[in-house]
Amino acid sequence: MFEKTLIPVAYGERPEEVRKVGTILKSLGAGSVCLYHVNEPGSFFRGADLSWLTLLAEALEETGLAVEVKTGEGHIASAIAETALLEGVDGIYMKAKRRWHIETMLLGSVSRDLLRLADVPVFVHKVRPRLPDDGAEPDHSDLAVLYATDLDEASARPLPYVMEFRGAWCHVLHVRGRMADPLAERVRREAVDEQLNAVAEELRPYFGRVTAEQRIGNPAAQVLHVSDRIEADVVVLGRKSPAFLSAPMGDTAERIVTGSSASIFLVPQPGSRNAS
């Protein structure tokens, strides 16, 4: 899933943190890493000494990964998304920075922009899963994965990635609107249960326990609620073209990234970047 991974880094990253990232990526099957730094136009550090990047690369190499270093310029998220495509990476890994919600709402964040722009899967590492301080590989046997699916064709795309996570528990969640009458609601509920069970069956060989649930309500709010309830380590979801009205609040994926303590693994829909 992460055979070749792009890791965007900024000045000030600590080598020991990057080493931990290397460990987790290795545990997820990564073989090589592209360490990528974007110089913002007009930045104070533009053209400055980039030896810190070499230090980070060395720290990563210690974990057994092949590392190449690249730099770029321009709007950070756009440059990352573009380089990911050009380099043919399998995914982008980024550690979320703590920001105030209002700050994110007003100014946006690189991770939010990247979720919108990237054409390859993005892993946004948040509070969970916690990385072991001793540099050991994270324990897959404790991993709780929340797979949020729309149950349509596009939403099946993240399924192979969910399987790759393996772990202790996979909870499959489908959030939908309520049907307009009780009969239609019952029919829909039964149909969704059937589809969820089919998905759960596919995932069963890869997880110790697989459960499924359907909920009614706002997708972002429900995913966040369930993620907190089951203390998920990773939330896996597909990205769809956002609706026009979602623009002020951000689309579902962006809102989940902003509000979640669990890491987010977002699989974009092919061609959805242009639509968004």
Partner: protein
């Protein structure tokens, strides 16, 4: 057992309890009721009069958007269902729904009062004031009221005929509330609908009683004491209660049809005996002005000059229509089963509206003709007592006594048929949407309607009626905004070709 009864009859017990408390409070402390309702009314108007304007326009835009969109082809019923009534029968019933006490009460008096008391930026009793008066009469009685009714009736018709749910306002909230429509949340929605219907109808009955009284005083020199108005309400109550309880629906239907014929005859007579070309010019130019200015009229609250005027008239009307909407909405829904949304929206928005325009052009236009061209002193009479304007106006026609008597008869029958229908609708709303309503509920609602009208008339007369219509409509306006949302959800789940 008791628990089950309380659960089943929660809407009836709760709404009847609130209304009875209101009546008791009004009977014991009318002064306190007046000050309390005035305070609530002032708070609503001071803070939310803009919301009434925006909501009414939104309802119109929403209804038109549905009618003209791809959802317009969806049937209010199952796909293979045919309309229960033929097109002309249906249109005639819509016609009838647009008729009532209000048209008789305001047909002459509203244009005259606007003419005499326009907002401060227009010279009173000027030709400009006349054009303004007619345009606003068209506006207040035009497409907006029918858009308001359309939202409620479309929601009820869609959720009950196509989705198989009970004909209740709460049923329309299933996409949002789910099973909670059968619990407290759904009960609150239905109680608000009952509350709005009681006060909306009581306002009309109050207007009707006042005008019948004025007519009788004008013709026969009856005392103008409030006790006579109360007596008129009591007699009319006995009549409509007897009709509702004894189940003489057929008789009421015959009476109702007779009334429509009589009203149309009155309309034609006034046109024929007055200045028809003048009236037709008023109709044409006012229609042009109305169409040309509909956006401005819809949002105009005259915040810099004339805000009071806008609150007293436009906001009052929008509130009144909203409070009538569960009643009229339910009626229109019942007769529209099998129609497509497009057919429904376009017909409901045009047919009754056009009829109302004709009514106002003939009565209002003729009154302004008498005022401006023949020196009649009608505006002053209307300014003094709006309920008297119609009879003062008919004085200027041949067979004035007969015409006035016909008008009083029309008012009495409209009073009886409206109250009778309202009693049945209220009974249905508080009986889970069923058509079979127990007699004790009919008695409770019939008496409640009349008692509320009496209490309001005793408390503060015409202004009290208006105050309560606005107050009761406010929460239901919010319910109506919710209806638009749930209807959109329901329709979005339909498989309609792009």
């Amino acid at each position: 057992m008791l628990r089950e009864y309380l659960r089943r009859e929660a809407v009836f017990l709760l709404s009847a309890g609130i209304i009875l408390f209101f009546i008791g409070f009004g009977a014991v402390r009318p002064d306190l009721l007046d000050s309390a309702s005035s305070a609530v009314h002032a708070a609503i108007l001071d803070n939310f009069s803009w919301l009434y304007l925006i909501s009414a326009f939104f309802f119109l835009a929403f209804a038109l958007a549905l009618g003209l969109s791809r959802y317009g082809t969806i049937k209010l019923g199952y796909d293979a269902e045919r309309p229960q009534y033929g097109f002309f029968g249906w249109v005639a019933m819509l016609f009838a729904a647009g008729m009532g006490i209000g048209l008789l009460f305001w047909g002459v008096s509203e244009p005259l009062v606007h003419f005499l008391q326009p907002p401060p930026f227009i010279d009173a009793a000027s030709p400009d004031a006349a054009a303004f008066a007619m345009r606003y009469a068209f506006f207040h009685w035009g497409i907006h009221p029918w858009a308001i009714y359309t939202i409620v009736s479309l929601s009820i018709a869609y959720f009950s005929f196509r989705r198989g749910m009970p004909a209740l306002i709460s049923s329309c909230f299933y996409p949002v509330l789910g099973e909670r429509i059968y619990g407290a949340a759904g009960n609150v929605v239905d109680v608000l609908a009952v509350f709005a219907t009681v006060f909306g109808t009581a306002t009309s009955l109050g207007f009707g009683a006042l005008q019948i009284h004025s007519g009788l005083t004008h013709l026969y020199g009856l005392s103008s004491a409030i006790s006579v108005t109360i007596g008129i309400i009591l007699i009319a109550t006995a009549l409509f209660m007897a009709s509702a309880i004894l189940g003489v629906e057929k008789g009421v239907q015959v009476l109702s049809k007779l009334n429509i014929v009589l009203a149309t005859v009155l309309l034609v007579l006034v046109l024929a005996l007055g200045s028809a070309p003048y009236v037709l010019n008023v109709f044409t130019s006012t229609l042009g002005g109305y169409i040309n200015n509909i956006i401005d009229l819809s949002f105009q609250s005259y915040p810099f000059a004339g805000f009071e005027w806008s609150r007293d008239w436009t906001v009052f009307y929008w509130a009144w229509w909203i409070s009538w909407s569960p009643f009229v909405g339910l009626f229109i829904a019942r007769i529209s089963r099998g129609r497509t949304i497009r057919e429904f929206v376009l017909t409901v928005l045009t047919v009754p509206t056009l009829f109302t325009f004709v009514w106002f052009a003939i009565f209002g236009g003729s009154a302004l003709h008498l005022e401006l061209e023949e020196g009649a002193n009608l505006a002053a009479v209307a300014g003094e007592d709006v309920s008297l304007a119609l009879f003062a106006f008919l004085e200027h026609y041949p067979f004035a006594g007969l015409l006035s008597l016909a008008a009083i008869f029309l008012l009495i029958v409209f009073f009886i048929t409206s109250a009778d229908s309202a009693t049945v609708v209220l009974g249905s709303l508080t009986s889970g949407g069923g058509l079979v309503v127990p007699n004790y509920k009919k008695v409770v609602w019939g008496l409640s309607l009349s008692a509320v009208a009496i209490v309001l008339l005793v408390t503060g007369g015409l202004s009290s009626l208006q105050v309560m219509a606005i107050t009761a409509a406010f929460p239901f306006m919010l319910v109506m905004i919710g209806l638009c949302y749930t209807l959109a959800i329901g329709l979005s789940q339909e498989k309609v070709p792009e």
